[in-house]
Every structure is written in C-alpha cells, then in structure tokens.
C-alpha cells in the first residue's frame, strides 16, 4: 500500500513537473531556456520510466537524451544565434492554429484512450525486465530478437555522424584541402551574440 501510494504521488508530481516544463519548452522566448526546460522534461520522463520499472531505459534516457542530445541542442543554439536570443512571439493566428491542433489532438486522443481496453496481463507473472534481459533481446537473432534493427540503428548512427560532419564542416581552402576540419587557424569561429561582439554599440537614445 505504501508502495502504491508513493507511486501515485510520484506519478502526479513528475507528470505535473513534466507538463509544466514542456509548456516552458514551447513558450520560452529564449531558446536556451527552452533547451533547459527540455532537459527537465526528459529528466522527469526518466523518473517516470523508473516508476514503470524500466531502470535501464531511464539510464539510457539520461545518458543519451540529457547528456547528449540536449547538450548538442544547446551547442546548436549557441552556434546559430548570432542575433539576440529572444525569439519573437508567434503570430496570434499561428498560436491559435497550433492550440486548436494540439488541443483537439489531446481531446481526440483522450477520447480514444478512455475507450481503450487493454488485455489484462497475467497477474503475478512479472519477472523484472532488467538490463540483461534487454541486452539479450537486442542481440538475439531469433524470430523475436532485435539484432537486425539494432545493427541497422548502428549503421544509422554512423551515417548520421558522418553526414553531420560532412554537412557542417567548412569547406577547406583550395590550397590545403586536407585540413583537420576545424583545427587550422581561421577555421574555428564561434558566432557571438550581437551584444558580445567587438562592434561598437549603437548609442542609446
């Protein structure tokens, strides 16, 4: 009973925190804050995974999502916001369209969920799906294994890494085509916010 009560409390606390942070994600005017809020949403999700008994997944969530993806996003924000970080508010029409779309999605999805009846799992038969179970399943090449998608995924990641480098690297100068892709002098540049550049500021009225 204690366990169930704690579960209920944690669910609602984490869920509310996730939703609030998610709202902050889509409404923050500073992208960096949005990214930060995203990090908290993902952390809350990791907590929710723990509640669902998926510890390994929670760890992966934090490791990859928070430690990798969010950091990457923050990097991108820093590299691409030469202008000031404030983003204009979207136009009212667009906000309305977005709100209508998302709220109706929520309503419809809620309607579907409310009428959804899941097949009840066999009671008691619940050995923990721990990290080793997931690992076995991932590398199992039987009919229920995921080794093929897993390998495909590794290929995808490799392609993404190479593609990302190919897209984002600067074209090396013609006279030295084999530069280190960022190490040579003049190749690294961080685009600073306008307020941090050396340009003289416009006199304020």
């Amino acid at each position: 009973m204690m366990h169930d009560a704690a579960l209920t409390v944690l669910f609602y606390v984490l869920g509310a925190g996730a939703i609030l942070c998610a709202l902050a994600v889509v409404n923050a005017r500073r992208l960096l804050r949005a990214a930060l809020a995203l990090m908290f949403v993902l952390l809350a999700s990791a907590g929710l995974y723990l509640l669902l008994g998926a510890e390994f997944l929670a760890g992966i969530q934090v490791l990859v999502y928070v430690g990798g993806i969010v950091i990457l996003i923050v990097f991108a924000v820093m590299l691409t916001s030469a202008a000031d970080l404030l983003e204009d508010h979207p136009s009212p029409g667009r906000m309305l369209a977005g709100a209508v779309a998302s709220i109706s999605f929520l309503v419809f999805a809620g309607g579907v969920f409310a009428r959804l009846e899941l097949a009840a799992p066999a009671p008691g038969a619940r050995p923990p799906a721990d990290a080793s179970a997931i690992g076995r399943r991932l590398l199992d090449f039987g009919s229920e294994g995921y080794v093929l998608p897993f390998e495909l995924l590794s290929l995808l990641l490799l392609a993404a890494v190479i593609g990302g480098i190919a897209v984002a690297r600067k074209t090396p100068p013609r006279d030295q085509p084999f530069t280190s892709g960022g190490d040579a002098p003049g190749e690294v540049d961080i685009v600073l916010p306008r307020s941090q550049r050396d340009e003289p500021e416009e006199p304020r009225a």
Binding site: Y12, V25, L48, L57, P90, R94, R137
Partner: protein
C-alpha cells in the same frame, strides 16, 4: 490519505493521457516555433512522449516482455541521429544565410 492514494494508482489511461499531453504540447511547439532549433526541440518533446507511450504499453500490456523498452531505446537512438543531422544542417544553413527562421526558409515557394 494513504488508502486514497493507493486506491488511485495511475492506470493506463492516466499514463497515456500524460504522454498525449506531452505530445500535444510538443505539437503546439512544432506548429508555432519560428526558429528551426526551437522546432527541433519540440520534436524531441514529441519523440520523448512517444517513447513514454511505448514503455507504458509495455508495462500495461506485456510487463514480462521488454519490447516496448527496446522500441523506446530505438526511438532515443533515432532521435540522436536526427538531432545530429538536424543540427549540422542548421549550422550550415546559418553559416550561409545568417538565419534559421523557418519563415524565411521558403525558397521552394517561388
């Protein structure tokens, strides 16, 4: 109090509603953000809620299996790949055009 809380343990509807709410919020962000990175962030939100959905179904439909968790792992990995490529594109785009405002990325229109 404790009994009340224990009796109201979240069932699958609550879990699914939670993930649907997160998804809807992400959808709102995708539709309203002007900055491409902002859109990408919102997409991450949606992906995360989808992964959550998988785990929820895993938990409530077949708790003995771990297929939902594996799918969630795949989702995370795909999201990572997506972000890598997306960010590379945005950085390259920004370098060329000086902006990543999606309103101004409409050259296909003309």
């Amino acid at each position: 109090m404790l009994e009340f809380l224990a009796a109201h343990k979240p069932g699958h509807v609550e879990w699914l509603l939670l993930s649907a709410t997160l998804f809807a919020i992400g959808l709102y962000g995708v539709l309203t953000r002007r900055n491409a990175v902002g859109i990408l962030i919102s997409v991450e939100l949606m992906l995360n809620s989808a992964a959550l959905n998988f785990v929820v179904f895993n938990r409530f439909v077949a708790p003995a299996a771990c297929d939902g968790q594996i799918t969630a792992i795949f989702v995370i990995a795909v999201a990572a790949a997506e972000v890598v490529v997306g960010m590379a594109i945005f950085v390259a785009l920004f370098r060329h055009r000086g902006t990543i405002d999606v309103n101004r990325m409409n050259t296909m229109k003309d």
